[in-house]
């Protein structure tokens, strides 16, 4: 059996572990086991990926995994119970950043087709928004910046301009997808600004809902990275997190007697109410 076959069969087992893990996380009696099951699925996926024949050198992988594990274990152990939500936001931001970098790195693997270029733009864009949005959510919750909603006149206009810039640069990049494309740099920069703009108009009490939404985005970013790399497991797990994250966000909104749209577009609404 070739390594690709072994890897893909193991990926099916990992995907199953994620599905059942998520299901079990939804009920108090099985939640802890569910989390452990999903962690086992992740470990399996990582171990079999190391069999990939495209991987020629393990030096940087070993160094990076070691650094990441030490930081991950220390922060997870040392953080105070009360500051868990902002820790989740921070981890989530790192996940988004990783998807951004994976999409970008894929550009150096040879010529990219238009489809691959579009998926690269998506993973970079969603990853960037997740990164900066999560950092703002973390800063707000840990009181590194004022927790209340920040709004200003013409915010909707500025956001519109940002979206337009993103779309234009994305289109220009797709026409000539190379690693050092200025348009890609523009997409990275502007998506980071966009993430900030999406989260600053949202006030402290809504922050857990926003983190849940950003969690859903980080899943979508991983899903886009899966399309870039042609990797089924990334697509399935990313889509699972993206979809279940949206549902969880909705449930959390309902628990607060708010609608999802109300939180999603609260920036624009806040401007309206402040000018009215």
């Amino acid at each position: 059996m070739s390594s690709a076959v072994i890897i893909n069969f193991a990926y099916i087992a990992s995907a199953l572990a994620f599905v059942f893990g998520l299901k079990m996380l939804g009920s108090p009696a099985t939640a802890r086991k569910g989390n452990a099951l999903s962690a086992i699925g992740m470990l399996l996926a990582i171990v079999v990926t190391l069999l990939d024949q495209q991987i020629l050198t393990f030096t940087w992988i070993a160094v990076a995994v070691l650094i990441g594990s030490v930081i991950g274990v220390l922060t997870a152990r040392l953080v105070a119970m009360t500051s868990m939500p902002e820790m989740v936001a921070l981890f989530n931001g790192f996940g988004g950043a990783a998807s951004l970098l994976v999409g970008w790195a894929a550009l150096f693997g040879g010529e990219a087709s238009s489809f691959v270029a579009i998926t690269i733009v998506l993973s970079v864009l969603i990853g960037g928004v997740t990164l900066s949005g999560s950092l703002i959510a973390w800063a707000k919750l840990s009181e590194k910046m004022p927790g209340k909603a920040i709004t200003f006149k013409g915010q909707a206009f500025v956001n519109g301009l940002i979206v337009l810039t993103l779309v234009l640069n994305a289109i220009w990049f797709v026409q000539q997808p190379v690693g050092d494309s200025v348009y890609l740099y523009a997409v990275i920069g502007v998506s980071l600004v966009f993430g900030i703009m999406l989260v600053i108009p949202i006030g402290g009490a809504d922050m857990p809902v926003v983190i849940s939404l950003l969690n859903s985005y980080s899943g979508l970013a991983a899903c886009a990275a899966g399309f870039v790399l042609n990797n089924n497991l990334l697509i399935v797990s990313g889509a699972l997190v993206g979809a279940s994250g949206i549902i969880l966000t909705n449930i959390m909104c309902k628990a607060m007697n708010r609608s999802l749209a109300n939180v999603l577009f609260s920036g624009f609404k806040a401007v309206k109410t402040s000018t009215a």
Partner: protein
């Protein structure tokens, strides 16, 4: 159909089914489990690590290796930290509920 187009259709099928499954998985979740569930699924989104590993080890260009290594570091923090934090939250939750039963 070109092979690439076939691949796109096939991947889109997987995407569609996974999205539907994700919608269906989360139904009635008690409010106390909202944060652990969010944290647990956040750890799963660190799956992008699998992609990062290949970028970091494929020896394409120096730039790709650097980007890949940075991605591996960040994704590992997401995965390791995410699962451990979730476990800590759930451990506390279990203690609380058994305390309430006594």
């Amino acid at each position: 159909m070109t092979p690439e187009l076939q691949q796109i259709v096939y991947l889109s099928f997987i995407l569609m089914l996974a999205i539907f499954l994700g919608f269906e998985l989360i139904a009635k979740v008690p409010a106390t489990l909202h944060t652990p569930l969010m944290s647990g699924s956040n750890a799963i989104s660190g799956i992008t690590l699998v992609g990062a590993l290949v970028s970091a080890g494929a020896e394409q260009t120096a730039m790709a290796t650097w980007l890949g290594a940075a991605a591996v570091t960040l994704a590992t923090i997401n995965v390791v930290g995410g699962y451990l934090v979730t476990d800590r939250m759930l451990a506390m939750f279990k203690k609380k509920s058994s305390g309430g039963a006594q």
